[in-house]
């Protein structure tokens, strides 16, 4: 084979592989968004053929006969409260670890990082009995608190990584000008870290919105259920599923994450690489 044709063959293989991967990654989600608009009958008989007709039926079903709106509202409330607390507590702790001077700051940082490796499942039984004792079962607090705690390590790591880039000279200058430790946080650290805050918000929103384990175990009333857990509502008696309605509900539930992702995707992936590349 000549050099030229070999180069061409290589290029063809390259694009073939790229496109196959692209289809594997994108097809399921596209199919889902389309399936939400297809009649139930068609989904039952030939779910993977090209759609013949599109309908709003599934959305009408979920809005009139299910609690999808309540679930989405609950997920939204839990997400917003958790996110505010996550950003506040993790930026404060990271500031103390990265910029304030005290014995054992490195040890404390490591103590937080241990949390990165702990599976949620391990804490379910103790948290359940703990919440039961203080009457927190079936409250939003019972989901917010563990979510907050489990998201602190990764958020603190992101903030510490960023804060170490803020030169100590700026802080020293502020101290000479008479700023207190509190003033440095509110007037220097926070204004400078708006970008990092967006990254932390975007990354955590995905995790918090998508929580399953805590909502499943700690919440049992329909009024407080979140969307992840609520998605299994569409399984009827004898395990028969209303597929059309299920897909419509799934499509609705992933809408907020997709919106956040498409508007903040640079910030989100920045968080990933900030942790990984040094």
């Amino acid at each position: 084979m000549s050099y030229k044709s070999r180069k061409k063959a290589r290029k063809t293989v390259y694009w073939f592989v790229m496109i196959v991967f692209l289809i594997i990654q994108a097809y399921p989600v596209l199919w889902l968004l389309l399936a939400a608009f297809r009649p139930n009958m068609e989904l039952l008989t030939e779910p993977f053929s090209f759609p013949r007709q599109l309908t709003k039926e599934n959305f009408i079903t979920i809005f009139t006969t299910s609690h999808v709106f309540t679930y989405i509202k609950n997920s939204a409330i839990i997400s917003v409260i958790s996110l505010v607390l996550i950003v506040l507590l993790s930026s404060m702790a990271a500031y103390a670890i990265a910029k304030l001077k005290f014995a054992g700051s490195k040890k404390i940082y490591r103590y937080f990082l241990i949390g990165l490796t702990i599976p949620y499942a391990v804490t379910l039984i103790p948290l359940f009995t703990m919440f039961a004792r203080v009457n927190l079962i079936n409250t939003r607090t019972s989901v917010i608190l563990p979510l907050l705690a489990f998201q602190l390590p990764v958020s603190i790591m992101l903030f510490v990584n960023f804060y170490t880039f803020i030169p100590d000279e700026i802080i020293e200058a502020a101290v000479i000008d008479g700023a207190s430790a509190y003033g440095i946080y509110t007037r220097i650290m926070i204004p400078l870290s708006l970008n990092t805050i967006m990254t932390v918000l975007a990354m955590n929103f995905i995790t918090v919105w998508n929580d399953y384990a805590f909502s499943l175990v700690f919440i049992n009333s329909t009024e407080l259920k979140t969307i992840s857990v609520g998605l299994s509502d569409f399984i009827g008696p004898r395990g028969l599923k209303d597929w059309g309605a299920t897909y419509a509900a799934i499509a609705l539930s992933i809408l907020p994450t997709l919106v956040i992702y498409f508007s903040l995707n640079k910030k989100m992936t920045a968080g990933l690489t900030l942790g990984a590349v040094k």
Partner: protein, 289 residues
């Protein structure tokens, strides 16, 4: 710098996070260890039984199966995430145009709730009505199988979902490490006649070894957190063939109300994640040096 040594300020900034984290994450681990030594249904009196829960575990065939299943689950998830993530990342570095678009699309599954993905794949795996994977099997001349109720296929089918979902994360981590490798070195090696494969194995992989290690740890930890997909797709079935430690623990504690026994399974999960902790701190030590 007296201002920065202000003890009250240190406490003010550090304590809220420290307290929430300690109460919600660290204390429950200690409590799990305590619970694993008692016999308790959650309501009645607690009875100290020593290590007998663990002895029971060793004789519990379902536990042994969940444990080996869990190891296999971790392997499948890691191979998919790291393998495909790496291959795509390497391929992406050769792309001149449209890189952002491809990255964006690859990452989409990672931002969607596991439950949505799990429901979606349940219909892809379906036997009746025939799902996407069985249409494909038929197309290449294989018999359709009921993936999620098949003894052999259920576990890989469930693990593949989590593996597939987060490929995008590892693709991005690997990609941004790969492009940070100095292009001058690569160019010099190319001029010296090195093939692209040699470049990959001799220059690119060695220079991002740290990131590869970090990605392995992230993937391992993520796989250890697996719970929602098997819980939602098979509930551990058929006959515990896709049972992993977390789903078995959940059933023991919240269905059979055997808190002590459930906690002893939790302790086993902790031991597994300690391996992860050790790996991470070794990574940190290397970075400090």
């Amino acid at each position: 710098m007296k201002t920065l040594r202000d003890k009250k300020a240190v406490a003010f900034f550090l304590l809220p996070a420290l307290i929430v984290y300690t109460i919600m994450v660290m204390i429950p681990i200690a409590v799990s260890i305590y619970y694993s030594l008692i016999d308790w249904d959650g309501l009645g009196p607690k009875q100290f039984v020593g290590l007998s829960n663990f002895v029971k575990l060793l004789n519990d065939k379902i536990f042994i199966r969940s444990f080996t299943n869990n190891l296999l689950y971790i392997v499948i998830v890691m191979v998919l995430q790291l393998g495909f993530g790496f291959i795509i990342a390497v391929l992406l570095t050769y792309l001149v145009k449209g890189r952002g678009f491809i990255q964006t699309v690859y990452y989409i599954p990672s931002v969607i709730t596991v439950i949505a993905i799990a429901q979606l794949f349940t219909s892809f795996y379906s036997y009746e009505p025939i799902g996407l994977f069985n249409i494909f099997r038929k197309f290449i001349g294989l018999e359709p199988i009921a993936f999620l109720s098949d003894y052999k296929a259920a576990l890989p089918a469930v693990a593949a979902v989590e593996g597939w979902q987060y490929i995008g994360i590892y693709m991005i981590i690997f990609y941004s490490a790969l492009v940070s490798v100095s292009p001058d070195i690569l160019e010099a090696a190319r001029i010296d006649g090195a093939t692209e494969l040699q470049l990959l194995f001799r220059i690119r992989i060695p220079s991002i070894a740290n990131v590869i290690l970090l990605a392995c740890i992230l993937s391992l930890v993520g796989a250890l957190r697996g719970f929602a997909a098997p819980m939602n797709m098979t509930k551990g079935g058929p006959n515990h063939r896709s049972e992993i430690l977390a789903t078995y623990m959940y059933k023991k504690a919240f269905t059979s109300r055997d808190y002590g026994y459930g906690s002893s399974i939790a302790v086993v999960i902790v031991i597994l994640s300690v391996i992860g902790v050790l790996l991470i701190s070794r990574y940190m030590d290397r970075e400090d040096a």
